[in-house]
Symmetry: D3
Subunit: 144 residues, 6 copies
């Protein structure tokens, strides 16, 4: 999986690698990702500790949805990403970006998924696309 990390470009300074080099976001950047996942984790626990069966079952179902089956996990995470893009939910987009990356989605694939979200959802998607690419850049600066 380290093959997807920018550092994995190794000694090869190809034009493609150069094009994809993250745009050096500010130094404290990984903190924003950490902050996002910590709030997410803490509040999920807070929500699930309340004894409401419908809410708990919904959360369980949400996890089950992206498990590989007739469609593999990578495809399902891409479906979740594009659905989040056209519904314009930054947190959902960030979450699926990280999941997609874990599942092996590369930059070209990300941009083709973005292009579907952009054309289906329109220019109103653009601000979310900006934050998506920023988040992806930040993800890539994190240590493996």
């Amino acid at each position: 999986m380290s093959a997807r990390k920018p550092s994995a470009g190794g000694g090869v300074a190809s034009k493609k690698a150069a094009k994809r080099a993250p745009a050096k976001p500010a130094a404290k950047v990984p903190d924003r990702i950490t902050e996002f996942s910590e709030f997410r984790k803490r509040m999920n626990e807070r929500i699930l500790e309340h004894d409401n069966q419908v809410v708990r079952r919904f959360f369980a179902l949400d996890t089950q949805t992206y498990r590989g089956g007739a469609l593999n996990q990578k495809t399902k995470e891409l479906l979740g990403l594009v659905a989040s893009l056209v519904l314009r939910c930054d947190d959902c987009i960030s979450y699926h970006l990280a999941q997609c990356r874990e599942a092996g989605v590369d930059r070209d694939e990300f941009f083709e998924a973005f292009s579907v979200g952009l054309v289906v959802g329109g220019s109103i998607v653009i601000p979310h696309l900006r934050r998506a690419v920023d988040f992806l850049d930040r993800l890539e600066t994190m240590p493996a």
Copy 2:
């Protein structure tokens, strides 16, 4: 109304009270609520000082909508809350959470309203639900 404040749990350390104890948000927390209401108040005034009759009438109508009638105010605020959840507007959710709490909605009722919003609106609602529960926790740490 103080019965809804966590501090009102008194000497009773019931399991239910424990479950509902706010998750100790950071110390400066009430400030966020204060900041939210101050911006809200300041900008409402700023909007209404402009001489546009349609905008002014809309604001008046918005206030009138939640007054008790055939349905009581508590039910109407819950309707406003769930509508805001499925339309995914954090500020509207925060506002109706505070109003619902004023009207006597308790945690179990909140979570049942959340469950309707979650099932109707889907997982795209979850990030807003996280912030809603966080806001509710913060509301409960404020002095009566």
Copy 3:
């Protein structure tokens, strides 16, 4: 339950009863309601006969959501109705209208719920409100 049927107004020809008299939709009207529920029932079966656990669990969860708990069933159906109004889904609106009526919601209560949906969701809700009132009128012409 017959108390909610317009015919139940009995000998009292009050102004209120007159105001609420259904607007005599075309004779074949109940057929449209029947058609709607038959398609709904047939396709639900068709969907559930496919062996997909996530879809089946979602349908089960959807049913569970509206059972009375901390909030009673009538309130929950009203929440479902207003959520459907602001998300502008005619079939969902029709379904919750019928469920609300079963749960005892009367015309004044319906219109107050409509007013919340209208003010939160805006004039874009109006065409759905027209069809909602038409559906309600049709429901009331059906034999008990």
Copy 4:
């Protein structure tokens, strides 16, 4: 206003006139427009005869919104049209198409407004654009 009617092209068989000639929708076409406005009119009356002040005031406000002021009526109807397009409400689109046409919007202007709606709202708007152009064609076949 008759200048906007296709028949008004007179003896001038310009290329532009030819391009704009309605695509001859089926003979019973005007009936669909009539049906739409009759249902609209009948249900508006039905809604307003119920004694709910918020709903009535909202309807009055909706009418007031499009009156000419700092922006003229034509511009406001175009704003209503594009808002309806991106929110994808066929009835609202049809209504504003008719109002825009009354206010003197011509085909080129309509298509530029459509292009804004299409680019902002994305390809999901296309089915509504198809029905919008069909409705416009039908409007133009009606006697002045």
Copy 5:
């Protein structure tokens, strides 16, 4: 491609084949599909014959979006399908169902894509899911 047609089950009367047998929609069914594609085709032509470059370019871009690249066409059509489901556009859903089927998506894959759309988008998606499955059943009754 005939492998995706139900009749292709051949002599194998497996439980799976039985489960997938279309639910015999009414005889005149294929007409609805034909009607849909004819309106679609006729209005696309009507739209494109107007000399508006932004609209024309958007239509060209829409076509280009689903061509196989880093992601293959099947994956992209599935992305288009789920985006259409969560945005709740019946015509878009029908279109992508037909395209997906052309690209080799089978029933199990369709239902997994549906499950993502349902969980992300919520119960408000269900009426569209019913019509999607109905459309799919109808597609499968058409001659190859």
Copy 6:
């Protein structure tokens, strides 16, 4: 263009000018606008440096959409503004506010456009309206 700057009120201390005086947002205010445009600019470049033709063409089309034609640029920017309001995208609203101001839209015109967005989109638009007016106030405090 300086005519649209508040300072252009000159020596005339009319009631109207007073009413429109910006509400003195905090001193560091212009920074927020600068920050917004810098992030926007940086990420647009970052997106466009990736070799995805659909995304690039979409961005080019988006720019082309607002050029004056049958409708002038001011009207088109107002259409973009109201579309952004009802779709509730703060960044899009901010962008079109700045563009509209460049094109000569004054406060009364802005508020009439807001009133259309508010009535069509409902009270869910209000938080975005607050931020829109705040952004407009900040724009007006910037040096010409």
